[in-house]
Symmetry: C2
């Protein structure tokens, strides 16, 4: 599918110039499983002593690779990663579990490590058996081409994991921990929260910082909540969503970090936060059929979780999303979405702003409000919706895209 669709109008200007992350080597090859004429398999080797943390889909019908990674992540150590695009190995029963074990064993042999230190992810069609032999037969040649992580290599890696994505997604930074320069580079793929034919959300973020696995897991949860768990394209949750954060420890001269609260980590945490949000927003910018990038900010909710639920209710509403596609500042649909969220709200305290302009205050339309600046804002590529519920201090921001004829065309007209 990749390549059939025009590049999203919301795509960044180009792939970023990601830094070399010491202790990470990458390679990509073509398996021919689904795609012809492109690389569809990414293999990564990470240095001895690399720590890892993961966050996975909450789907009750998750894929075989997700089942594997959940168990492996509990060990906190990594040596390798293998990712294929074109077949999700989801809803493939016990045979699917066996395919995972076969592929993992082949990588573990190559690395002479325990299988539990090898991670995997698969994205693509659901319900078809993934042919393990087509992957295993490529492992040796993939390892033969392993290379350090320069900018071109990161871009190749990001390209290899794409399915319905219309552009490759990456983000990175170089920051200080103590006096040491540490590097962070991440890649991601996804263009619906899911389209089981092809799309799911995967992200792999690597750093050469040296961090215990317990610190990594403590870092990852809040980062994912504020980024990948704060985006929605179509409210559908993939069977395969996977975020892995790996730290090789290979940057020179680092201080010893024992807690995620260590103030020496402040700059690093801010950089990770920015990278996670950047990758998550790139997925929204590649949302199926998207013509507008929408930020939904909710304040004044009972607590932060209530704020996120209200924000997601707005961001998932087909009626809000179609109104924005039509450049219609239809705040009545926003009121509806606040009401259906089920969280505390007071009709007579609600304030709604569009593009910074108040359209409704204290539960009624703003008397004689000037429509012109709001109408002008609705013509932008980036739309800001802000709601104050008027109950307490809970707040959240989520990102989504509009719902257009393009979404219907991609998901109904192009048959699998």
């Amino acid at each position: 599918m990749a390549g059939d669709l025009p590049v999203s109008p919301l795509a960044p200007a180009g792939f970023p110039d990601l830094p070399v992350v010491a202790g990470v080597w990458l390679s990509t090859v073509a398996t021919g499983i689904k795609y012809q004429g492109r690389h569809d398999l990414l293999v990564c080797e990470v240095a001895e002593g690399t720590t890892v943390a993961g966050t996975f889909t909450k789907s009750k019908t998750c894929s075989a690779p997700v089942d594997w990674c959940k168990k492996a992540a509990a060990g906190g150590e990594a040596r390798g990663l293998i990712v294929n695009a074109g077949n999700a190995n989801a809803f493939t029963g016990k045979a699917g579990d066996q395919v995972v074990e076969t592929c993992i064993a082949a990588v573990a042999d190559q690395l002479a490590c325990r299988p539990s230190r090898v991670f995997c992810a698969s994205t693509g069609v659901i319900g078809e058996q993934l042919p393990a032999d087509k992957i295993v037969s490529q492992i040796a040649s993939a390892w033969g081409k392993m290379a350090a992580t320069d900018a071109a290599q990161w871009q190749r890696a990001a390209n290899a994991i794409m399915t319905t994505d219309t552009f490759a997604k990456g983000a990175g930074q170089t920051v200080k921990i103590g006096d040491a320069d540490v590097h962070i580079a991440g890649i991601a793929k996804g263009s619906g929260m899911i389209a089981p034919d092809m799309a799911t959300m995967l992200s792999f973020v690597f750093t050469d910082a040296r961090l215990p696995a317990s610190v990594m897991q403590n870092l990852l949860g809040p980062l994912v909540d504020q980024s990948f768990n704060s985006i929605t394209v179509d409210s559908d949750t993939s069977t395969s969503d996977t975020v892995l954060l790996m730290a090789t420890g290979a940057a020179a001269g680092q201080p010893t970090i024992k807690s995620h609260d260590d103030p020496q980590l402040d700059g690093f945490k801010a950089a990770l936060d920015a990278i996670f949000k950047d990758l998550a927003q790139q997925i929204v910018r590649d949302g199926e059929g998207a013509s507008k990038f929408i930020s939904v900010r909710v304040a004044g909710a009972e607590n932060d979780l209530a704020a996120r639920r209200i924000a997601l209710s707005i961001a998932n509403s087909p009626l809000v999303k179609t109104a924005i596609a039509g450049e219609d500042a239809n705040w009545g649909r926003i009121v509806m979405a606040v009401g259906k969220a089920g969280e505390m709200a007071d009709r007579d305290k609600l304030t709604i702003r569009i593009g910074g302009h108040a359209v409704a205050e204290n539960g009624v339309a703003v008397d004689g409000f000037n429509e012109a600046p709001v109408a002008a804002h609705m013509k932008n590529d980036e739309i800001d919706i802000s709601v104050d519920v008027g109950i307490a201090a809970g707040q959240a921001t989520v990102w989504t895209c509009d719902l257009t004829h393009g979404y219907i065309s991609i998901n109904a007209d192009y048959r699998s």
Copy 2:
């Protein structure tokens, strides 16, 4: 808006021939508030001693009429009903409450009854003040035209409450309670679960059975759960959804009924159940942009509530709905929707049938299954999806429609 859109291809052949319900009188008039050249106000008088039960939206931003009806329904007695189309009187603050009180007072004066026995509903645009004077000034002339409920009068009533509906919705039956013939007639409107510009879900069902208010409320809850709470068009919940059931007691020769479990009510309950489901399914058949009517049956869930949640997760999934619009038997998207429902499911016990044909069993695609009959079923106007979760005995059925370019056109392209 009504009249601008072509009649849904899923509409019934015509408006049904509804029976006269003794003790109910109807009248419709034009207020000119939103629509020109059509009746948009329905007024009903019901006999002294009429009992009433109601079910309302769970929205936290519900409309002023819903606030009124919730309180009034607690009294269990009714003498009148007034319904306007074109303005929802929602998100109109204290002024909106005042409009309700003014209109209710005018009807109560006409009937010489307590205001708390008068019910009201409004449907249409959100956030605009409803001009009470345009309603109050019509009350006397509306009462002057009050007439018994023959079939033509029911059809006029169903027409008067339409907004984006493309056809008028009614259902009725005549059944026995003891030796007495009792009559039931209901009308409804709605074409999205909501489109706050215009659409919401309202239904009013009248009978000349004689039933205590407590029996009425006990009857209503399960009926609504199996009908109006088992449909979805776009997952959006209206600020104004209202179902009222009124019983005049005016049919001759009825036995005294004290409990909703009285076996003399069995036939009556079955008729009410059929009428509620018929009206609810007509709303789905008029779903914005609908080209296919979809039944989703879930069995084998932990309990009936879990089954309904899984069924609604499937019915609300944009990816399932677009696949059906594209006549694509994409059962991978059904697996995804089962997984995201959050209810107990076992990947390796899941069975999925489309049009009665098993496409996946025990968590994997059916080996070598014949695609031809499934593909043929997908071309029908009516699509059956059946899922067995394989956990326990919980079951539920919900109804929805597909998601098409028509939905986008109605909600994005046609600006308010």
